[in-house]
């Protein structure tokens, strides 16, 4: 096989990948993405965002990756047995017209072992992979804190 033939065999895959990416960007929307600056000594950060599915398809978030972290997981903070604990979530299913909110004290992106310390003002690039080879890129600005988001949100809704 010469180079052109090789490239030719790749075309359908490339087209497919592009189609998936285009579809995902239309169907899915991310906003309010941010990550909390890690206090001194902490080797984990939490990231938050809201994910909307505008389509009539179901999307399943299965994997998260960032070149700036060794590992990214989805966790849910839960009150169990009188204690707060973090439960690892293996996938998030986003039904038609559904939305999921990752927020302090709830579901969050667990950004583990940063390769370099990330201070407020830095940006984290994150790839969200869904089943069916759909993926999405998002940038999370690092912020010191977002106090009382709960109350801000209520005012917005009025």
């Amino acid at each position: 096989m010469n180079l052109y033939q090789r490239l030719a065999t790749l075309i359908p895959f490339l087209l497919l990948a592009c189609a998936n990416l285009a579809q995902a960007t239309e169907d899915l929307e991310i906003h309010d993405a941010w990550a909390r600056e890690a206090p001194p000594g902490a080797a984990v950060m939490a990231g938050y965002l809201t994910l909307h599915n505008h389509s009539s398809e179901t999307y399943t978030l299965t994997n998260l990756q960032s070149p700036q972290f060794e590992k990214v997981e989805i966790h849910r903070t839960e009150e169990r047995d009188g204690m707060t604990q973090m439960i690892k979530v293996s996938q998030v299913i986003l039904g038609p017209k559904d939305s999921v909110r990752f927020q302090p004290g709830g579901m969050h992106l667990m950004l583990m072992k940063p390769k370099k310390p990330l201070k407020a003002g830095a940006k984290i690039s994150l790839t969200l992979s869904f089943s069916g080879e759909t993926s999405m890129q998002v940038t999370l600005p690092v912020k010191k804190a977002e106090a009382s988001i709960h109350h801000d949100m209520q005012t917005h809704m009025h």
Partner: protein, 211 residues
């Protein structure tokens, strides 16, 4: 052998409760209804001695709680979600206190993760949120002495992948200047609510006239 003793203690505590209710009488009921504060304990619980090491190198014990209102939160520094969220809300709240109230209020973060946290590492951690915050920790046994008295819990474990697991109570505990466990503010914590709840608790302290 132990049964009669238990029964005796049971009736004794009933008597004590009755005594307290009679002593407090009507005004207490009114205060409870008007401030409608479910966070407050019906009867404040005096704390017995405990001993931890604080981030400023001094011990943290009963003595250090005397004469000040204390807001105490259990957690650990490797906690990325609940702990920094709560500490930044507490810092926002602290910033809204009048200087007089701030002077007799102390904020203490007790790490229940002695495997990784030390009084030294806690110093930098708590001061990141507010330079006046105090961190403290101790051995599991030392921690348990305080945790138990505050009707709180913590558990330490290791995941199959070797990652440390730390679970802990998420309430902010309020200890009064007489070193009594006074109230429990439940999560989720928001600065405005913490402030209002705390000010309401101070106002309705027995002996303080209600304006």
């Amino acid at each position: 052998m132990s049964k009669p003793i238990k029964l005796f203690l049971g009736s004794l505590s009933v008597l004590l409760l009755l005594g307290a209710a009679l002593y407090l009488g009507e005004p207490e009921a009114d205060a409870q209804a008007s401030d409608n504060n479910p966070a407050k304990l019906a009867t404040p619980k005096p704390l017995s001695e405990f001993q931890l090491m604080a981030s400023d190198g001094r011990p943290l014990n009963r003595d250090r709680l005397k004469g000040k209102w204390t807001l105490l939160f259990f957690g650990y520094t490797h906690c990325p979600d609940v702990c920094p969220t709560t500490l930044s809300e507490l810092a926002t709240m602290a910033g809204q206190l009048t200087p007089e109230i701030h002077k007799d209020t102390q904020f203490i973060f007790v790490s229940v993760d002695p495997r990784r946290d030390t009084p030294q590492s806690l110093a930098e951690y708590v001061q990141y949120f507010d330079p006046r915050f105090i961190g403290a920790t101790g051995s599991i046994e030392e921690l348990a002495v305080l945790v138990r008295q505050l009707d709180s819990k913590f558990s330490l474990g290791t995941s199959p992948l070797g990652e440390a697991i730390v679970n802990h109570s998420s309430a902010v505990m309020v200890i009064d200047p007489q070193v009594r466990y006074y109230a429990r503010l439940s999560a989720p914590h928001y600065a405005e609510d913490l402030l209002q709840q705390y000010l309401a608790l101070r106002q309705h302290t027995p002996g303080t006239p209600i304006p």
